[in-house]
Symmetry: C2
Subunit: 229 residues, 2 copies
Amino acid sequence: MRISAEELERTITKHGFRKLSLCDLGYNYLIQFRKIPEELTDLLKQKDASIVLHPVGIIRSKIEKPFLVAGEEGLKMQGDLKDAVVKIHEMPGEISNIIIYEGLDGILDGIEEYSHLVILYWAHKVPEEGRSLTRVHPMGREDIPEKGIFCTCSPARPNPVLMTVVHLKGRKGNVLEVLGLDAVDGSPVIDIKPYVKDFFPQEDVHIPEWMQRLQEEVNKGKSPNKTQS
Amino acid sequence: MRISAEELERTITKHGFRKLSLCDLGYNYLIQFRKIPEELTDLLKQKDASIVLHPVGIIRSKIEKPFLVAGEEGLKMQGDLKDAVVKIHEMPGEISNIIIYEGLDGILDGIEEYSHLVILYWAHKVPEEGRSLTRVHPMGREDIPEKGIFCTCSPARPNPVLMTVVHLKGRKGNVLEVLGLDAVDGSPVIDIKPYVKDFFPQEDVHIPEWMQRLQEEVNKGKSPNKTQS
């Protein structure tokens, strides 16, 4: 079997050799290589390795589609921002269900003793090309200069693992009823963690002016006015 | 090629058929099936699908090994709890580096404007069998009754994606210098998010009595006294 040059190169790197040159001789390759120092091999292996997650459940919510849609050109608000803001305001009062899959018996035992939980879930509506964005206009707002993805809450990011802290209202067997979950219906659940206030900063927290402004606009339910920005 | 009955069944379900019966005729299978309603097919496909993450960077810290080790029998504290508590107390003062891999140019642009960040990382020292634990003694403490994994901060969980909020001290190109990161050296970075206080509960938060007690013990640097529990 003839493997591709790329695959061959990946395999060589993975096994601790740095390729010096590679000549295609038809059905064979002539490779010159030298061993990579051991301390670098470990790092290279890790960079190369991908991580596989298995969803532990699914979210059922009234949010049918994401507010923000990612494409090659960046983030775009889907529909009208005013409608989105109205929906964001309704959200804290909406009950969502987190259904935990069978085969994880006991994994929720004792969870009712917490008032709040951290939910990690997969933004399953983000297209593959959304994972290669590195800079976006926050919330798709072109009046705000582009920022690095890690400075934003964009659902499109290299690994679209989203996080929300929810209020636990009740549990019926393998179903958690929660308030404040802003996940699109059908989102796969990755993890559930207890929310413990002491694990979060008790000291002063600083955020950029543009994020402060976005927060205030959403809180007031005010639509953005481009002439003011 | 003859595929196994299990594999065949998985494939059938994936493509939207429910198997009614399956007869092994030697090298062939006789299958009777009927179509699964479309609304269920989507859910089944999603449950079956796994999620692939690509690390965006690596954590360099002074923590050489995890405090808690998972095996088939549950969680065990590695070494002495007193030593661990001392280390936990030193941690907030230790600088860790988060090195972002090449090829993600611009992804950190503007990050210096935040004082705190949420770091999602992979608990790479958790063995595969640690991912099938569903109940553990919190912190490996046998004096505390077993709880569901989702009620604990156990690094061993179905998807060992860990989360810490850190204080951003500085940035040198693709390296973030942070305080308060309790990740083992070499942990792969999954995501970085801005920490915005308004996204977290402003109301009262309730946690179980056992978690409160564990917190207090760690805060006081007090070793556990089994005769009191």
